[in-house]
Amino acid sequence: MRTTHSTPRTLVRTVVAATGAVAVGLGLSACGGADEATPGVSEDTVTVGTHQPLTGPAAAGYSSISAATSAYFDYVNANGGVHGRTIEYLVKDDGYNPANTQTVVRELVQQDDVFAVLNGLGTPTHSSVLDFLNQNEVPDLFVSSGSTAWNDPESYPYTFGFNADYLVEGSALAQYASDEHPGEKVCMLGQDDDYGETLRAGAEIVLGADGLGAYETYETSNQDVTAQIGALQAAGCEVVMLATVNGFSALAVGTAAQMGFMPTWMASSAGGDYPTLVGFLGEDVAPQLLQGFVSVNYLPFSPDSEWVELFRQINEEYNDGASFDGNTVFGMGVGYAFTEALAKAGEDPTREALVEVLESGELVGNGIVPLTYSAENHAGYDAAGITLVDGGVQDFVGSTYRLEGETVTAVEPEQVALEGDGIPVE
């Protein structure tokens, strides 16, 4: 729009061109919808995509997840794939920035024609594409976040969570605290968003509305928690629950140690992965600082588990022997659950069939309890097992808690057994 002037002639031309374009457009749109093939499924491939923080502030803690999932799919593909199709996994970097997530997910769905979006990571990031994916009826499986927002089948019929949500984790940690540390003052350090708030709500299911002795929050953009730790110390906290990401769990433990504050730490699974914490704190001091560190998990993580053994092998062979930690198990667990769903969706998978498989409740996964999907429930795990660090080894202590409505019950873990070579068949 420079300041030139339209002559009547150019205007007429413009209008003619516009009318022509509209006519062509209407013709094209009338032809649309003739394509009946399922997006992302070809003769010999199934293409799925994800958005992950490969760069940016969250990359250090989580960029290894998608690599592990890819490695598991490579393992499946090397063993013949699923119903003769290999799985192609497109990983897009969103830098943990919702604005980028918007763009890359549209690219996956509208340009790369993915069959489903798998394991999109992050609460703020994935929230921003929730409406988009459901309006386009794209299966949105195993969201990588413990937010309770994914379990809303009425509004979001295509979205399925995966992690034990933060209510489950918060209530399990609080129950463990009141069982094993009765009478001690329980406090919490939380991230200043839904993550912190939801874990707090979970803990208060067990402890009561004013059961937390103190609640401090931090911002991910500020790498200093001295003030918060000081306040917890001054409040005389004996158990401190952490609704923190791995980097801030390490920061909290390190800062507290410098201040001579040694409470019992209880972290959510998103911030309680021992190998990752050792990476932050350093191998020399980590075993001492983290002795007695409590966390929760719902995936097999015992060093002597047959799943861990298999995943270690796959990690060596298909992931260039990257460092093996909770993210690796998580990534491969996601890969396993998707492969299982795809196998059960039949010879010619459609998006509807995939969602039906999940809602039928047939999906088991490989956790310490079976997955709990149904038509009314789109949350993955409803129970979590307590883990403890002892002598530099993080392992389950046996206590497992299930959250049903407002009640927490201790249950026996029912670890799903490994069958065959760890590739699900129908």
Binding site: M1, R2, T3, T4, H5, S6, T7, L11, T14, V15, A17, A18, T19, A21, V22, V24, G25, L26, L28, S29, G32, L54, T55, D93, G95, Y96, N97, P98, A99, N100, Q102, T103, R106, E107, Q110, Q111, T123, P124, S127, S128, D131, F132, Q135, D192, D193, D194, E219, T220, S221
Partner: protein, 359 residues
Amino acid sequence: MTATISSRTRGIVLRALALTVLALAATFLLDSYRNYQLAVVAAVFCATAGLTLLVGLTGQLSLGHAVLMACGGYGYALAAGFAVEVDLSGMLRFALGIVGAVVVAGAVGGLLGLAGARLRGPYLAGLTLALVIALPAFTSQVPGLGGDQGRNVPFEPVPDWLAPVLFSTEQWHAWIAILVAAVAVTPLAVLRSGRAGLRMRAVHGDEVAARLAGISPGRVKSHAFVAGALSAGLGGAVLAIVTQNVSPGGYDLAFSLLLLVAVVVGGLGSIGGAAVGSVLVVLLPWLIDTLTTSVGLPADVEQRLSGNLVVLVFGALLILVTVVWPGGLSHAFAGRLGSLSARLRRRSDQHVPQSLTER
């Protein structure tokens, strides 16, 4: 004089109308993803059109234009969120949201304009720069803005009466974006070609001389800021509608600087140049990304290039354009087309600003 101005205004409005119809028609030729990109281009165009006026005509260097977009986005999100609470939907909710966007962006733009009338060159740049850097801290401290996670924006579905015509939500959003951009940019084009534009050029040229001619530089500068802010705010509202979310991460310093690069590469002071620039800002990163993935580089090299290569290309483009065509791409094109259209029209009122920043 009045007659020529009003005929000029009519010409601009007619042309804007024609371009709008053309753009609306073009959405039928594009697939969903292209329509999404078109909507983002239109949103960015709102911001760059205001910025090019501000920098090119009045010589006020704003490094914080992304903040004004964010103001529009948050204004829209808050007002539309309120509308949902009182059970408004459809056009009323949209209208309330747009009012919210305009009010918030206008208020912030007005304050900045007051500062802009008193600050010169680098000091104004410094102030606006500080605003961009402060945005994440501000949104995390003020309750109701949702911190780093941002605020969700109610979804605008295709209205029933348009459903038989449009083939996707993205196309509808592109329509919203095009219409809002038309409403935002046309007044700027009218301002630019009218008396206000003359005053802005006069203030930019020599403040003392302008004052002697009876023009108040402070008023002209602050008005230009408000005009730019309103337009950027509408752009932010569009972006909020299209992405259903507004968060500080989308309006960081890099984006703010990219807007400035867009108007300089497009051609300072030219609204056509702002359009070219906004297309570049949206499509260039995507093109480069598509290229690097199709070349088949090793994964770690690709990951290292992602994001960084775009900055490099924009930098190189900026240097190239300012060396080869100091007036920007729009003037480079205008030179070619100009000789052609001059033959048809026998007149040319193209004006290339000789100095690009405030003296």
